[in-house]
């Protein structure tokens, strides 16, 4: 502490003693007792042997085209611009097939399919870690509902997010950081913070958004005219004021929790800037994530931050990256989107692997739905893009106990619909929980008169995905 800064008056000894030193006068419900009891975020044992401990979920908002990324459909190239009679999707009127503007090739030893836009992901060191799942089906054709469904298990929004359920089930390894961290672009995805809300679970499990610009957590820092020492002194004065009140209201257990929260907030103020300060990373790591390039920098930075957070004990990290909604100008759109995430993702997987963290970190790459093999005209012209497709999509998984170098499930030859190993979103959720050592049927919370669970009414594990 700055020696010139006036510190609080009469207390010596550690802060904790100061805060809780009057415990003796508080009777048996002393604050120290409450402190000793489990905090809602204390680490909890999994229900069964877990393959993964942490999750990093890369969410491609807008819905990437599966046929333009990891699930090639040569048939579409043949049918390009010929009339489509498919009826699914929202597009009306004359529809025509759209061939992917990209070539595809087999990569790695396992021979996964990737469109030629993927350069870094195609590196066998990365590609052979992946499990490409093609059997998932969504239910909604509209972005916010589909986003809610993928993120919370319910189309309606307002239910707890996957990350909240995981926090509820496993707690957090680091009490000075939030257990569930969300990173977005400057613009929030459709549906906003309800994509990472705690829903009916206690508020401790809500996702905390690390903002890409300005204050990483809203109001994390004091106003600029208040120094750190100023803040510390204020907290000490507050503690003194609260102390008197606590002594007069010994029956009231919430008081201690709220006091402890101010101290936690203070510790977070110290810890968060350190975690997000990626300048301390060596150059070669920064380059690995693509921080040396304007196109890849934003997402790469977030991927690097995700690794640092997981390293520090954050349980669930989610990154939203938008712009995948290519109804038109598919080639330009997807080229630029793929380029923006390719290096960061690949760097993340490599870095986790090299640090021995990939084994127990589950990395997920997905959108809220896939895209249609056809499109309608826009403004009267053949617009080369795709509509929303709830019947087919593509997802990638890496680490955390998934089957390496595998393709699970299949879509039909046009990519219109999943046809093999077909599962609804809830089954993917159950599988994620399973890998984390949690049983969806047991991970319940009594609310509104029934035991609620992530899958709503129960689901299945997809054994084919598990290594």
């Amino acid at each position: 502490m700055n020696p010139k800064f006036p510190s609080a008056l009469p207390f010596t000894g550690s802060r904790r003693e100061f805060l809780y030193g009057l415990g003796a006068s508080l009777g048996s419900l002393a604050l120290t007792d409450i402190l000793a009891s489990e905090s809602p975020l204390s680490p909890k044992k999994p229900m069964h042997k877990a393959k993964a401990k942490n999750v990093i979920m890369l969410f491609m908002e807008g819905g990437p085209g599966h046929m333009d990324t990891f699930d090639p459909k040569p048939k579409l190239q043949e049918l390009h611009k010929t009339e489509s009679k498919l009826t699914a999707g929202l597009e009306k009127g004359f529809k025509f097939y759209v061939g992917s503007p990209f070539q595809s090739r087999k990569v790695g030893n396992a021979g996964l399919d990737m469109s030629d836009q993927w350069i870094h992901m195609a590196d066998p060191e990365v590609a052979d870690e992946l499990c490409n799942y093609r059997g998932c089906q969504a239910e909604s054709l509209n972005h916010p509902e589909a986003l809610f469904h993928m993120n919370t298990g319910s189309r309606l929004g307002g239910d707890p997010a996957v990350g909240s359920w995981v926090g509820y089930g496993l707690g957090s390894e680091n009490q000075n950081l939030p257990g569930y961290v969300v990173m977005t672009e400057l613009a929030l995805p459709q549906g906003g913070s309800r994509n990472w809300s705690n829903g009916f679970l206690p508020a401790h499990y809500q996702g905390t958004r690390l903002r890409p610009e300005g204050s990483p957590i809203l109001d994390l820092d004091s106003p600029s005219f208040k120094s750190r020492e100023h803040q510390r002194r204020a907290l000490d004065e507050l503690a003194a004021l609260n102390q008197k009140h606590a002594a007069a209201n010994p029956q009231h257990a919430d008081l201690a929790a709220r006091m402890e929260n101010y101290e936690l907030a203070y510790r977070m103020q110290m810890e968060v800037p350190g975690v997000i300060d990626i300048d301390s990373e060596p150059e070669h790591i920064k380059n690995l994530y693509g921080l040396d390039n304007k196109e890849t920098e934003t997402f790469g930075k977030q991927c690097l931050m995700a690794r640092r957070l997981v390293e520090k004990g954050v349980r669930f990290v989610q990154i939203f990256s938008g712009g995948w909604d290519s109804h038109d100008y598919l080639e330009k759109g997807h080229t630029s989107r793929i380029r923006s995430v390719d290096k960061g993702m690949a760097g993340l997987i490599k870095d986790l692997k090299r640090r021995g963290m990939l084994e127990d970190t589950l990395v997920i790459w997905c959108g809220e739905f896939g895209r249609t093999p056809d499109n309608n005209k826009r403004g009267g012209v053949y617009s080369i893009g795709r509509g929303h497709n709830a019947n087919a999509m593509t997802m990638l998984f890496a680490g955390g106990g998934v089957k390496k170098g595998s393709i699970v499930g299949a879509t039909d030859e046009l990519g219109a619909e999943a046809v093999d190993c077909v599962h609804p979103i809830r089954d993917v959720h159950c599988t994620i929980l399973h890998l984390l050592g949690l049983d969806d049927n047991k991970l319940t919370y009594f609310h509104g008169g029934r035991y609620k669970q992530l899958s709503q009414f129960g689901g299945q594990i997809i054994p084919e995905m598990i290594g």
Binding site: D219, P223, A234, L238, N242, Q251, H252, S336, G379, G380
Partner: protein, 954 residues
């Protein structure tokens, strides 16, 4: 039991199936074990031969005994439950085989015992005929040890229709009779508040003493926050304390009267209603369109509370006010249909009629947007939402479960869900022309309109420039190709060769910009509707041809001869039409619809007009056992912080049962007898000793062990202030709170990073949030703040303001660390502390006196000697600190550059957005505007705002 509780029996053929009288074990199997097998086991072990799990089929005795992949013939050992492996699995004693695997399906202890008993009896499995005979015999009995049969319109199967309920579990559906008061324990029966008789009886039973009475300062803070949602002023406190010394009873009752007479009362209690009804000013979903003039419904509710509108009327107006208003208008037009239609279109309603029309805002208040959804599905989304919301709000009944199947626990068949659905099937939502009434506040319209007009003009100007650029290029193209120019719309369907490329002449950036500007044109055009006399209301008629939440208007003369067809939708799917249904009500309550036919008294006549009114009257009927119980339970909850029946939105079997059922019934009956008035109920509850007791108890350790949830109310429950109470009280304490009489929503200052952060909507970014330019408008109570579904005020959200998409039956108040950030560091709180300090400086000249006033105004007490000394020293240290630090002055942007990833290109483009609100912005007092002493005092103010003493109410 009343006569509606009888077993509805098909004429039974005389059974010859009884070769011999069935044994008890056979009866046990048929009535207890078999239904369990069917409900909990066959799903994975029998129903679908293709999908038998673990190779274990339980469909017949033989298969059941044979076992499967994991267990052999030891799975069930007839005559010996102990040796039967199945018992371990259903007891969840074997961690590898916990059956049924879902928490929700887990068997109860009693059910497990039935299994054991049956196995011990040799696991008999009578033939289907014998089972049928046993069931039919059983169905003849009205009440058995398994409970009673509730007559309903009938489930999808007999098993459901004739299932039994324990009366105490379905307490809420049974008729309400006013219980007599419990025997008086003190011998002074006459003076005891009936509330206390019931509370005391339970305490006596448990052997608890009630807590002593709270001190007057605690009481006035408790009552003031409770009734008006603000902390009491120092003068109110000292006046009350002196009056209390004179005559505590009189002081207390006159305090309650004063608070109930305050217009702030309605502002507070309407908030409770909106938590349940889900008030917001926008429609949510991807477009999140503004619902112009939704505030008229908000103010209607506030007025209803202030005027103590009887609750039955409040119910009817919100559900069918449009029918009442139009009936009244029709009769004023003396049956001349053409005249009526014209008057309706022109909104020639009297103020009384207008008020009723506005009340139907309730039916518009949920999130809904038909964008990107088929029309039929969009209507289904609306109707499901209304049915569910009406069930939760007025009847404390969860309807969502009954959409797909007969209720798992409650006596509500899916048929009744679709009857209720049919009741609303002709209800169409629209902005209707309804004249403003003299009670509605129209101030600020001109200023607000001017800003909206500027934003609209700006969007149009920018869009026009881009459109002109495009058309200039298009003209050039047509000329070059020797073709005649056609404008953008006209050339749309031409073959590609005969027209220029789409977006000709526009760069990729400009294409994106045009899309944003065109979206902004819609948004501001819609915003301008605010200034027209429209109300968010409903009408009766067929589904309109198109649904677009941007504009929903009523046709001039909708065809009310239309009879929408409604069906039971199996599994909730539109495509799975089952049996046809008529409009109707919940049959399990045994309360017929007024004027209904005898053959089915729970069906509402099919006329489109009158359906909802019939339904509304049925809800508000004093014989309806749910309605009054539902609302008195909520009133109690808001007074005590905990309800009598633990799930105020769910009185069903799965909801928490009431802690004091007789009290609840007594209050409900009393509420109706006294004319359904809230204010009488408040007086009754608040004058009880239970309400006036202290929040601490001499035997708290004992109670913490015996009654950890304080269910018996041996002491008064403590609660944290709600988000609105915090913000409103802060403004009141600092002297910044501006009185309001409702009207246009106000835009408080919110975290500027959030205000200006981009927010995705359907096709582009939502416009930035701009606070009102003057403190007079923006520093009003939170209930008047513009509520955007897609963007919460981060301060309020942190303090658990509920998300308006879901009905909130009880507020959460978990302490999380971001609350500390917000209450210590945010601009909003810094501004409050500076304003408070500046006001204290005016009030007193010396720091000691200023600190004393700060305590009085924020906490309602003087600091003690230790606090005074400590804070004086803090003050002087901070004054020195601040003397060396000059805060930066606050700049508000008048324009911002936004960027968006364009779907066309996947590339980022930028555009400018103007922020006219900041052009003549009158900011609140900022740290840079005041001297070091004021900032030091503000540090102390900030402490008080963060203190637990401020945050909790005892």
């Amino acid at each position: 039991m009343r006569s509606f509780l009888y077993a509805l029996l098909p004429a039974l053929a005389v059974c010859s199936a009884f070769a011999a009288e069935p044994t008890d074990a056979e009866r046990l199997f048929t009535l207890k074990v078999q239904p369990l097998l069917a409900e909990k086991c066959f799903g994975c072990h029998g129903d679908d031969p293709e999908k038998i799990k673990g190779d274990y089929d339980m469909l017949t005795r033989e298969k059941l005994l044979a076992g499967g992949e994991y267990f052999g013939s030891d799975v069930v050992v007839p005559g010996d439950a102990k040796k039967s492996a199945i018992m371990d699995t259903i007891r969840w004693e074997d961690p590898d085989y916990e059956m049924p695997p879902k928490e929700n399906d887990r068997l109860t202890g009693e059910q497990i015992e039935h299994f054991a008993e049956w196995i011990n009896a040799g696991a008999p499995w009578p033939s289907d005929d014998v089972q049928l005979a046993i069931r039919e015999e059983e169905a003849k009995k009205e009440v058995t040890e398994d409970g009673m049969i509730v007559k309903t319109s009938g489930g999808l199967g007999d098993e459901w229709t004739f299932r039994r309920y324990q009366p105490e579990k379905i307490w809420a559906f049974l008729p309400l009779t006013k219980p007599s008061l419990p025997g008086d324990s003190t011998g002074s029966a006459d003076s005891t508040n009936p509330v206390d008789s019931f509370i005391q009886a339970k305490l006596d039973e448990a052997g608890f003493e009630p807590a002593p009475e709270a001190d007057p300062r605690t009481l006035i803070r408790r009552a003031t926050l409770d009734l008006i949602g603000l902390t009491p002023t120092p003068k109110e406190i000292s006046d009350f304390e002196s009056a209390w010394k004179n005559d505590s009873e009189a002081a207390w009752t006159s305090l309650i009267d004063r608070l109930l007479d305050s217009p702030r009362y309605g502002e507070r209690w309407a908030q409770h209603w909106f938590d349940v009804a889900r008030y917001a000013d926008t429609g949510g979903m991807s477009n999140d369109y503004e619902r112009s003039n939704m505030w008229r419904y908000r103010d209607y509710v506030i007025r209803a509370f202030n005027e103590d509108m009887p609750y039955d009327r409040f119910v009817i107006e919100q559900l069918a006010g449009d029918e009442l208003a139009d009936n009244s208008l029709r009769s004023r037009m003396e049956g001349d249909h053409a005249k009526f239609v014209k008057a309706r279109a022109e909104g020639k309603y009297t103020p009384e009629e207008a008020e009723k029309m506005i009340a139907t805002g309730f039916l518009r208040v949920g999130p809904w947007d038909p964008a990107m959804v088929e029309k039929a599905e969009a209507r289904q989304l609306y109707l499901d939402d209304v049915v569910n919301s009406v069930g939760q709000t007025f009847l404390s009944t969860t309807m969502r479960c009954v959409k797909c199947h007969d209720h798992k626990f409650d006596p509500i068949p899916t048929r009744d869900y679709y009857r209720m659905y049919a009741t609303f099937a002709g209800t169409q939502i629209a902005e209707r022309t309804v004249p403003y009434t003299s009670e509605e506040n129209l101030e600020g319209m001109e200023e607000s309109k001017a800003i909206a007009q500027r934003l609209y003009d700006y969007a149009t100007k920018e869009a026009n420039a881009l459109r002109n650029k495009r058309e200039t290029a298009a003209k050039k193209w047509f000329k070059e190709h020797g073709l005649e120019y056609k404008d953008n719309d006209a050339r749309k369907d031409l073959p590609d060769e005969e027209k220029p490329p789409r977006h000709v002449g526009l760069s990729i950036d400009e294409q994106g910009q045009l899309k944003v500007r065109e979206q902004d044109e819609w948004i501001w055009e819609r915003r301008l509707e605010r200034y027209e006399p429209l109300a968010q209301a409903v009408y009766n008629g067929p589904d309109p041809k198109y649904l677009n939440a941007r504009k929903l208007r009523m046709p001039k003369d909708p065809n009310i001869k239309d009879r929408p067809e409604n069906f039971i939708l199996t599994g909730g799917a539109l495509s799975a039409q089952g049996e046809k249904v008529q409009p109707g009500v919940l049959s399990a309550l045994g309360l017929p619809v007024e004027g209904a036919g005898k053959d089915d008294p729970y069906v509402i006549p099919e006329d489109l007009n009158g359906r909802r009114l019939s339904f509304a009257k049925w809800v508000a009927n004093p014989e309806n056992p749910l309605t009054a119980r539902s609302i008195v339970n909520r009133i109690w909850q808001y007074h005590f912080g905990q309800p009598i029946a633990g799930n105020p939105n769910n009185f069903g079997v799965s909801g928490k049962q009431p802690t004091h059922p007789e009290l609840l019934d007594w209050l409900a009956a009393e509420f109706m007898e006294k004319g359904w008035t809230f204010k009488k109920m408040h007086r009754l509850i608040m004058t009880s000793q239970a309400y006036r007791q202290a929040a601490h108890h001499p035997k708290r350790e004992y109670l913490a062990a015996e009654d950890p949830d304080n269910a018996l109310l041996a002491y008064f429950p403590t609660r944290r202030l709600t988000a609105e109470e915090i913000r409103d009280s802060l403004l009141a304490i600092t002297g910044e709170l501006q009185p309001s009489n409702g009207g246009l929503p106000v835009m408080p200052e919110i975290n500027m990073e959030v205000a200006l952060q981009p927010r995705m909507i359907q096709f582009s970014l939502a416009p930035a949030y701009q606070p009102d330019p003057t403190p007079e408008r923006r520093n009003r109570r939170t209930i008047y703040a513009y509520r955007v579904r897609g963007m919460a005020d981060p301060f309020l959200e942190l303090f658990n303001q509920p998300n308006p998409n879901d009905s909130c039956e009880a507020r959460d108040s978990a302490a999380v660390s971001p609350q500390a950030f917000s209450l210590l560091n945010s601009d909003v709180i810094t501004d409050r502390s500076i304003a408070f300090a500046a006001s204290l400086k005016e009030q007193a000249s010396e720091p000691a006196a200023q600190i004393e006033q700060a305590f009085l105004r924020a906490l309602g007490r003087k600091p003690d000697e230790i606090e005074r000394k400590r804070l004086l020293s803090y003050y002087s240290d901070m004054e020195k600190y601040h003397a060396d630090v000059q805060p930066e002055s606050t700049e508000y942007p008048k324009e911002i550059t936004r960027s968006l990833v364009e779907e066309f290109s996947g590339e980022t483009f930028e555009y400018q957005e103007i922020l006219p609100a900041f052009e003549n912005y009158k900011s609140d007092l900022k740290p840079a505007d005041v001297d070091a002493g004021t900032r030091a005092l503000a540090d102390i103010c900030l402490l008080l705002f963060n203190s637990n003493e401020f945050a909790y109410v005892y």
